[in-house]
């Protein structure tokens, strides 16, 4: 917004059809531009434009989130006595969650999954690829980036089956390739499987983001560093990393958020064997939808929502502080 010189212009919301075209462009344009409402929509109609979207978001996104808060306080089940008359149990679901070793284990597995596949795996591999692409030959770069992108854009159900085929005990491609027979990867190393799978699946986003970020590093800075005799590693550490620091943070937060809520491990291992790969989304699904413990499931969902909130608030703060710096 341009700094307003006359306060009156800001007060008038340019009502529907009030200023007839008679005063001419000289009279209407400055006010309209200051207000932004060049079409003359008016505030009422603008609200009517926004309302349908807000209603849908409100009913199917905000309300469920708020309801989670309430449901988590109930002993509410799909079947049995809890279905007839949900009993208010206060923080009971939370205390039983915190004392449930299965929840603690699921939480630990989730942290392992997020840390290993997103924070370390996708982040480092994505950055390395972007860094390598800067000087790579075109065909190599094109081949590798198309493969990485394909892993990212294919539908989740398809890639999950592709990985089942890859890791199959008898006929799996992996066993055939490295000569191991009868190695049931998904049963013997379920966590490792879903971590490597998620690195494969999600590295593309980090690669794209870091490719864009690295293109903002001024070539002249690198040139100067090279003249001064900096090694490639020193250039990376002292010139590149400080420039893309914010991108690294953005990327890490986003992929953490997505991985934290990722349900696709379920399609690979079903959370098994023996809950060995039951990350939180799978745990919630099994407790609430399969087990029918809706109250308990909601309590865990709320913990997930809170974790999301923390990550998102950090992220949005970050976005906001970036703007004055860029200006």
């Amino acid at each position: 917004m341009a700094p307003s010189t006359s306060p009156a212009a800001d007060l008038a919301p340019a009502p529907g059809g009030a200023p007839a075209p008679a005063p001419g462009p000289v009279a209407t344009t400055p006010r309209a531009r200051r207000d932004g409402d060049v079409v003359g929509l008016g505030r009422a109609r603008a609200v009517a434009f926004v309302a349908p979207a807000l209603v849908l978001v409100g009913v199917f996104l905000v309300f469920p989130a708020a309801w989670t808060l309430y449901l988590g306080l109930l002993d509410y089940s799909l079947t049995g006595s809890g279905a007839q008359a949900p009993v208010f149990v206060g923080l009971g679901n939370y205390t039983s969650a915190l004392s449930d070793p299965a929840f603690a284990k699921s939480l630990y597995l989730t942290l392992l999954f997020v840390g290993g596949s997103a924070v370390l795996g996708q982040n480092v591999l994505g950055f390395s690829l972007a860094w390598y692409f800067r000087a790579a030959q075109r065909p190599v770069r094109a081949t590798l980036s198309v493969l990485v992108l394909l892993a990212w854009i294919l539908p989740g159900s398809v890639v999950a089956f592709l990985w089942q085929a890859l890791l199959d005990r008898r006929n799996g491609t992996l066993n055939a390739l490295i000569g191991t027979t009868d190695m049931a990867w998904a049963l013997d190393h379920p966590m490792a499987v879903i971590i490597v799978f998620n690195i494969w699946r999600g590295t593309a986003f980090s690669m794209l983001l870091y490719t864009a970020a690295l293109s903002t590093v001024p070539r002249s800075h690198l040139e100067v560093a090279r003249m001064a005799g900096a090694t490639r590693w020193q250039q990376l550490r002292d010139v590149v990393l400080p420039t893309v620091k914010r991108h690294i943070l953005t990327n890490t937060l986003l992929i953490t958020l997505w991985t934290f809520n990722d349900f696709s491990p379920y399609l690979l291992t079903g959370g098994g064997p023996n809950r060995e790969s039951e990350v939180l989304p799978v745990y919630i699904y099994k407790e609430a939808i399969i087990g029918g413990h809706l109250g308990y499931g909601s309590a865990i969902s709320l913990l997930l929502l809170l974790a999301n909130l923390v990550i998102a608030v950090v992220y949005v703060r970050l976005l906001r502080t970036r703007e004055p710096e860029a200006a």
């Binding site: 919301p13 060049v38 003359g40 609200v47 434009f49 978001v57 009913v59 493969l147 085929a165």
Partner: protein
């Protein structure tokens, strides 16, 4: 297993480091032999790492490309011959087309709903100073990333159950659209913000009414943005497994993403002829749409908020 990837990664690092140090650090005369040797060693380590990465990313995809055409489809990804018989199986299967049609209904329905509602909201939010606009956008941005299908699974299930929308495709469309809208509004508002206001201004000067301007000036200009968001929504819904899986129980209403997991015989063995061809047919539209959008707008369209 994460160590495997770790080794690869550290390999990339050391490869570039040694390669560059020898390339820039050593003078032309002294130590050229050692420098060149190190350069060669560094280069070959790097090529090995790149080859490994190509294999890592290509290996799972191999099955999708080979098995649909294999005369003996199994978990094994090998080309033991070439046949189109599996596709005949797919065509003959009574579940194939209904499930693809269901996917189309869900994704086109949600996509249209998202485009229309997001365009209206984005335009008004971009051009009119509604009180509390910035807070609203801030809240939308937060919401779109916090409330995920996984976290809101229980209340959404329960709510649709009580609204009588469970096992109804309309319910799935509403839930998915509600989830996609905040990000869609955000993307489209960015787009509208970037359009100069002079188009609308000049139409106004010539006496056009607001609705005329919207239809004949604004709509054509923001159409590319709407197309992008529409394709983005389409792809998101097309690939979504969890929401229809939880909310639809009637197999005749389920989309391709869910039906793919029902192609098993009585003994629990997957029907490979069906699954492989189905996976391929189901994946192609996504890849084509991605290529289209990417070529046209150079826009990476997956994952909630813009980076």
């Amino acid at each position: 297993m994460s160590t495997v990837a770790g080794q690869r990664r550290s390999g990339t690092g050391s490869g570039t480091v040694s390669g560059s140090r020898s390339g820039t650090g050593s003078g032309p005369g002294r130590g050229l032999g050692a420098g060149a040797l190190r350069l060669v060693a560094g280069r070959s380590v790097m090529y090995a790492v790149v080859c490994l990465l190509v294999v890592f990313f290509a290996l799972p995809l191999l099955w999708l490309v080979l098995t649909p055409f294999s005369p003996t489809p199994s978990y094994k990804a090998s080309l033991s011959g070439f046949t189109l018989a599996n596709f005949e199986d797919l065509l003959a299967n009574p579940q194939t087309w209904p499930s693809i049609r269901n996917s189309l209904v869900l994704s086109v329905g949600s996509s249209l709903l998202v485009i229309v509602l997001a365009a209206l909201a984005a335009y008004a939010l971009s051009r009119v100073r509604i009180p509390g606009r910035d807070q609203l956008l801030y809240a939308l941005l937060l919401l779109s990333s916090i409330v995920t299908g996984t976290a809101a699974m229980v209340p959404i299930f329960l709510m649709l159950f009580q609204l009588g929308l469970i096992d109804r495709q309309f319910g799935v469309v509403l839930v998915l659209s509600g989830g996609l809208l905040p990000a869609a509004v955000f993307m489209l508002k960015d787009f509208v913000d970037s359009i100069p206001r002079s188009y609308e201004e000049s139409a106004r000067v010539f006496g056009a009414s607001p609705s005329q301007i919207l239809r004949h000036v604004v709509l054509p200009v923001i159409r590319p943005g709407m197309a992008t968001v529409g394709v983005w929504a389409l792809v998101q819904v097309w690939g979504n497994f969890l929401v229809p899986y939880v909310l639809l129980s009637d197999p005749s209403k389920q989309p391709a993403a869910v039906v793919m997991y029902t192609f098993y015989d009585a003994g629990g063995q997957p029907n490979f002829a069906l699954i492989s061809t189905f996976a391929l047919v189901y994946s192609v539209p996504v890849v084509v749409l991605y290529l289209f959008v990417n070529r046209r707008y150079g826009f990476a369209f997956q994952g909630g908020i813009k980076g």
